[in-house]
Symmetry: C2
Subunit: 358 residues, 2 copies
């Protein structure tokens, strides 16, 4: 069912595709690195599986392969970046670097981005801060698939939040999660297996509970983290809203139900109130609060204490956010990245079309 | 079952209690305002119902009524505040004001606080930013009652997050929520009514699902937002952890299972890695990103579009975070604040003890 490809082989292929689209070498390299960080970390929905989607957006004229990405407004600790309709995979690292540079100067940096596109996994961008002894944050709005609590209309994307926090001896704390009960990628896994999903992930278009992994194709809705009011879905709805507002209302991107859809065949919403997709990035120097060595040794203590907390019956140990992805990365860099047959076929078709060998 | 007290009457009583404890007039006034903002907004667990708890902490020598609250470290956009074991109700507005002042200068301000105590409702502090056309954020760690995903040990508090965002014609967006499936106050309501709670709010001490509203008294655990792994509890666990780290590891407060317990009869944890409880505050000038009028008119558009989204069957309309509390505030400022008989009795006992009339 799967073929294994090395990181290097997928890198060469993906980079050649971005070069074919007209990206500069530097842009093709960073876009490839960001995209493949998903495959390597086990977030299969956001890696090469999305390459065809990016190509279709480029073919539809919605992605500019040679964007003029620039800061359009700033203060010592903030900036707004206009992505000029570039690949989010390129715009996002640019904007996160602006946040990091501002943090170097005044302690923290906060950058809201408009006129961008899908930026890969949020965790990649947040983790850029780690090597600078900074806490990194990244979030983005996305195509509307999620109904607010008490609503049956698609108003929000799965709007992920990533937070990366450095430690010393311990690996960093890296949280990266959709503000829905289940990420879209989890739905896709069940779709491929033709299996049901648990109650609480989706509803049908009338707002009834559903276990249909294909519910979205029939007009259904994703549910905010918490699933229903009794279990706190108003909190997931608030979190998704905060991501939308920080990413798009602060920057002048298109928000809520007007967020540009990722599938190129879906028409753009009418009367969009802003430009493209929005992101939000933050960087905080830990030594803007206390000496970096103090902070990182207390993070070591925090992490080891939580990892040693009493496990529930049937579990060997308690995980720290980022543990599963780090374990996966070690395995896949060694053994290669498993690509399902259907995706191998799709990538080969792309390769043929653009004269690029997989 | 309830007696109604006017805001003014509860204000006078509460202020007199804080004055009796030795607070300065200014501190007694701000502590009262913060505490009663919970009663007024309908968050009954965090208002005068907690007064007895604060008094017991003061009697136990854990609250300093005349603290020397000060900035101990800073950069242009950040600060660490030491609360000198003062009332969180006083320390928190001080620290939030530091964040606001920094935002005036460099666009944003971020303040982590150590050596504090319970700070009332997070929403009050976040909302301080609104009149300055800033986005406000507030969070705090708290006594450990919550088990991480896959654990049966109490490692985190209910660690709330509040975010307040200004609009123009529309009322502001104000989210204020515990990072658990249900806030502790929700449990207390079911305890008073002697009614069960839904599956997903708590577990017994062995990690079994429980509907016992009194589960915590028997060694049980609160569950992170999401309730179980399948419904995203690892996301609630990550959120509660981020609040703990920003509030306590950044500042040098006591974190995780070492957070000082609110009930004065619970002994302090051994080997505490920091001082007191921790908070984290943020303020972002909206015009550090785009002109304030642009931002606020787009927030009006955001809010009215979400409020008009198609309601689910059985619901009249979709709510914006902050709507229920604002409606409650209007009612209670007019009709008075309903206090349950048992609490009236408790407040009268306090009044007698301190020679203060309710």
């Amino acid at each position: 069912m799967y073929e294994h490809y090395s990181y290097e082989r997928l890198t060469q292929f993906t980079k050649d595709i971005f070069l074919f689209m007209g990206c500069s070498t530097a842009d093709a390299e960073i876009a490839t690195k960001v995209l493949l960080s998903a495959d390597v970390r086990g977030i299969d929905s956001h890696g090469v599986a999305r390459l065809a989607g990016y190509i279709r957006l480029w073919e539809a004229g919605r992605i500019n392969a040679t964007p003029d990405i620039r800061v359009v407004h700033e203060t010592p600790s903030t900036a707004v970046v206009d992505g000029d309709a570039g690949l989010g995979l390129v715009v996002a690292p640019f904007a996160m670097q602006v946040a990091i540079d501002k943090a170097k100067n005044v302690g923290t940096g906060w950058v809201s981005v408009r006129n961008s596109n899908h930026f890969g996994i949020a965790g990649y961008h947040a983790m850029m801060a780690l090597e600078h002894d900074m806490i990194g944050m990244a979030m983005t709005n996305a195509s509307a698939l999620v109904a607010p609590t008490f609503s049956i209309e698609r108003m929000l994307g799965t709007n992920p939040i990533a937070v990366a926090i450095p430690a010393s001896e311990q690996p960093p704390f890296v949280a990266d999660f959709a503000t829905t009960t289940a990420a879209n990628g989890k739905l896709e896994i069940q779709q491929r297996k033709n299996e049901d999903v648990p109650i609480g992930w989706v509803q049908d278009k009338e707002g009834n509970d559903s276990t249909d992994a294909h519910a979205l194709k029939h007009g259904g809705l994703m549910l905010p983290l918490g699933s229903d009011r009794e279990h706190g879905s108003h909190k997931g709805y608030a979190l998704g809203s905060i991501v939308d507002i920080f990413s798009a209302v602060l920057s002048g991107a298109s928000y809520g139900p007007w967020a540009p859809p990722f599938p190129a065949y879906v028409p753009m919403p009418e009367n969009m109130p802003g430009k493209g997709l929005g992101h939000f990035f933050g960087a905080m120097r830990v030594d803007a609060f206390r000496p970096a060595e103090d902070f990182k040794s207390h993070m070591d203590n925090w992490i080891s204490r939580f990892r040693a907390s009493t496990p529930a019956p049937g579990h060997e140990n308690v995980l720290i956010p980022g543990d599963p992805e780090r374990v996966m990365e070690a395995i896949r860099m060694k053994d290669g990245i498993p690509i399902p047959e259907s995706l191998v076929h799709e990538l080969n078709e792309i390769g043929k079309k653009f004269g690029v060998g997989l």
